[in-house]
Symmetry: D2
């Protein structure tokens, strides 16, 4: 089907994410086995194309990495050919891409990385994208790999916080990742049996949150609150600033969990504890689900490459693997809406979102 | 929406499955919160209706069970109103159902249990079904809860077997559940990086399997083989029988992993070890995915009950929660076919299925 | 051996800890089975004796709790009969204890709780103590239950942070519990392959830490730093304070991980990320090790009670279960010293403690 | 302390075991860092010395392996210089050892491997031993690494089987490793809340086992039975044999769990299910405890090497790391006795061992 000379680059960009190695392995092995392709690993995301750091990947390089977190190629959060230390070096990157004699480039990344990929594809790069993000907020796909692992980590944390909350009769607050989208907080909150879930999509009324916790303090004597890092009270975030002793400019520290703790302490008479999971949400071995999903996306991407269907992204739509154009995914993001099925479930379970627009009600069956 | 007198029964039938308690909790809490319903727990599946063992479930009974495996209601594999110790007692069961003054009954079960539910619904029971099975082989739904937990357990086992296989240069065989459908073996095999996956849907040629293992013994020096309990060689299962010392009738023992081990030992020169996971695949705390999924199914079922849409089952179709008729699900099962996306991925990764009809090839993009 | 009327109270005090339920179960079942004892559960630590909240525990109450985190009796961090809202109510507590007609009281707690137990025993209570703390810092015992679970949680977190550190070439800082003793940071740091471990026992020189990280940035390109919450730089902690916008008194926020991050950012040119695990270190299901250990301590405590050996604590000394007097344990704590075997191992592995007194050297064999 | 020319071989023998890589890493890094040693990896246990397969290990080879199961050096169960395919090649092995110009050899293994090491040391090899075995049955040490990981895996399996047992009211039997010693079954049985524990050290009376299960069927309606693979009924094992259809010599299949199931089915009226964990007990990532323990043993072994204290084994005695002579460990094994503390705990909890000599009783305090 393919000549022996097919040369394909593979690149991982943006924040690391469980399943990246599974995707690299799937794309590479699938192309090696079916197309005798040579695989060129681009190091540290687009930075590798800018600073010209690549390494060939052979079959052994792609073995035994399925269960490993992170990415063997390295990644970078912000490197862009359009703004490298303030300079647009996209033309140089294109030159380098051509000098590598690549037939195509598989870009595994989130919103930012795929947006850059889209812009580079318009300059003539043959790109196939694979969506990844623990935040699950990519437009055009029902789901991204890394998300399942993230919610399993947060859920495990909630199972642990619950026993402490019960034993001490406390309100336990857990801050999760999710600056613009509340998917992690919503799903992990449901899986962890949270009483309150606060997400960026719906500003919270502190009095509603306090009421929900208070009602339980008289009853089950403890509450579990999950708050996404981007959630904010109605009227805007009450920021907390800190200064090093001896002054100096204030630096933002802590996070919304600490803010919420301070707010709640003024409203209810209960011991409150806040925990911020931070980076452990994005590392480590992927769940079985994410391994299968990332592998399937990678194999599907290999088919797109073999069929020279460039400018595309592999996505999951209506439960089916398929492809859409990079344009559909670039420069967009997907957030939780009133239509969301898990939100409907959470509401029918009586979970409090601290928002008057989201009253407890049964699933609507309008589907 | 509902009067205070709504009385709903809940029943779990068939083999236990991670997520049953999450579903019980979701149905019950959702109906209590939104409809002030009384919930009646039927004990041990349909056996509870036959032997008249029920208990009211209050809000506390449904608290703190989300993360627990098994079912607080108990379950039974084979009890049927149509054949209770050889007698059809369906009329007595119907009498009892009416004497309980139930407005509806939520039945959480697999193929067998939902088939009985369908038959009882034809006799006049107001039933809403929720599909569960770790085998993922129910017709009419893309996925069942319990399956994700099962593959995560099998995948964890494969991660462990791999290190032993590598250290000793062995062929490690793992037998999974799956008598008629190979979903667990297929997904866990992909997630665990299996070299060979043998499933009931495609009989295997022992020489193909031997060849696949042999080729790796010269290379990476070890192989991982996943075999579903229902997989069989072309030409039919080579059974293994055993007798107690001193004779007596032979009794079936061991399983397909041991059979395959004996077959392979005659074909290749390698140390081979077989492991059968057995019952640990269906127990324990559900994964975050299964908790969310079972909760959503339960909440959706509650809506169907509240809306008196009986004779229905909650299902996932094209990635969407919706309902179908019990008839569509009853007396059927869903197996792995050539159209399956994960099978396509496995093939493009070069995983051996021991079957000439399943050659390594790229994903087709006919979607 | 005992008459049917043996009445024993059980109390859990201080911070919750994985294994508390295993210990409650072991004490209670062992005394019920062997001495037909009645068990009286004291609720919320010494607060239950102060506010007179107790409940009888039967055999069923003690079943199925072995694997559960937290404590079914509830606990309280600070309640003391000698200072209840500023008042000494120890005499009233003694009256209540006598009115309960208890033959003995098993107190499961850490330093603070066992110190109170010692003082109450001097007033005439028949007390047997069981040491618990995730911090492993109790005097008189080689180990406490809860510690193994805590280090396993921190180690899991380090495994996750490692993949992110590698992928992004970052310095990853993890803050663990341990205000006065560094046991958790030391053991988890070794188990998690940390490059730098900072503990309260040895103040750190920020330049040494920076050097250790810098040297790796040129080499493996990432570093793992574990810091106990009580660790401080030579010269004393650089505190970080914050004020709510619009002023008001400053409130302590964040922690030593954030402080260290700020310090390091001024010394080395690398991306640095800080994570604080917080409360998830003390919750959830205990490890197999802690379940066995807590069970053995509980069974041994039951023997002490049955033999009326009061004023004692069950301890592990030289690898053997035995008992010591409450006096030996009360008002003391155990910290990491130069003699410690794991510290010696860490030093011989070249792990940096940021302290000039702790140079890399081989294990001494003076034992 | 050492010249640059110190050359040390490292070898892992016997069954693989979680923590082997942690020990290899600790020995190697400690000797590299403190003695500038060259490390020579011997491949596949003593087979590598027989077939002359070695590879130098550098610092990078020893990085990132701490959390990996198995052994990067490979291992072999039975290869012995004294019996290689029936021939004594110990003299050739000694020649090869000398030709490698090794100053010493660190042998990481269990009973069999350390016994060979002892015999080779008598022929003039400079050997330091490190004990490993998941079975914890080595003489001269309180504990071996790998054991904690094994019991945590078995305990996790018991947690899963429990939910199935409860839901179906079944007797769940789990067969663990332990041919001659019952340590895994004893510790995991306690940690998993087993009702019956059967180990090789104490033959079981099937009627006692049946009685213990029967009594619970009336009560909690289910039982958990843990049986070590070497456990046998009083009067000797009722073996089960099988023949391939068409005859041929009978081959042992299944195991003691299946035997016990058949025995119990004739004694009690209950559903009984048997599971055999097999090889998953010895693979995968080591627990935090085993990582710390294996690291400490490795670091201590490095000190012995550096101090030319050969013919020794690193052991844990009375809770302290120290060394003993290879002779003390070779050709011996350690089994569970009446003196054992965990056995005493299990008895005081009323756990049934099916043996009349082991009646339920309190811990004796004769220590």
């Amino acid at each position: 089907m393919q000549t022996k000379t097919l040369r394909i680059g593979v690149l991982t960009g943006g924040g690391d994410c469980p399943g990246l190695n599974a995707a690299i392995r799937a794309v590479s092995k699938s192309l090696m086995i079916n197309c005798c392709a040579e695989i060129i690993g681009i190091q540290d995301g687009f930075l590798g194309l800018i600073e010209r750091r690549v390494k060939p990947l052979n079959y052994e390089d792609c073995s035994g990495i399925l269960s490993q977190g992170g990415t063997i190629l390295g990644t970078h959060n912000s490197a862009s050919p359009f703004n490298y230390k303030g300079v647009d070096v996209s033309d140089k990157v294109l030159d380098y891409y051509q000098s590598l004699e690549l037939d195509g480039l598989v870009v595994i990344g989130g919103d930012g990385t795929l947006s850059i990929a889209y812009e580079m594809s318009k300059l003539g790069m043959n790109i196939v994208g694979i969506p990844k993000t623990i935040d699950n907020d990519l437009m055009g796909t029902d789901r991204t790999f890394g998300f399942d692992t993230a919610i399993s980590i947060v859920t495990d944390a909630l199972d642990r916080l619950r026993t402490t909350g019960q034993s001490h009769k406390r309100v336990m607050i857990l801050e999760t990742m999710g600056r613009y989208a509340g998917w992690i907080a919503l799903h992990a909150g449901i899986a962890g049996g949270a009483d309150v879930i606060l997400i960026p999509e719906f500003d919270y009324d502190i009095d509603e949150v306090a009421k929900a916790c208070q009602s339980r303090m008289g009853d089950q004597h403890y509450s579990i609150v999950v708050i996404a890092e981007g959630a904010k009270p109605i009227g805007g975030q009450l920021t907390i600033r800190e200064t090093k002793d001896g002054g100096g400019d204030p630096i933002r520290l802590g996070g919304v969990a600490n803010v919420l703790k301070l707010q709640l302490e003024q409203k209810i008479d209960a011991e409150i504890r806040a925990t911020t999971l931070g980076y452990i949400q994005r590392g480590g071995s992927p769940t079985a689900f994410d391994r299968v999903f990332a592998t399937s996306l990678g194999c599907y991407a290999a088919s797109l490459v073999a069929n020279k269907q460039f400018g595309k992204v592999v996505v999951l739509q209506d439960g089916q693997l398929c492809s859409t154009s990079l344009k559909e995914v670039a420069h967009k993001s997907r957030i939780v809406t009133n239509e969301d099925s898990e939100l409907a479930s959470a509401l029918s379970m009586g979970i409090c979102f601290g928002n008057p627009d989201l009253a407890t009600k049964l699933h609507s069956l309008n589907k």
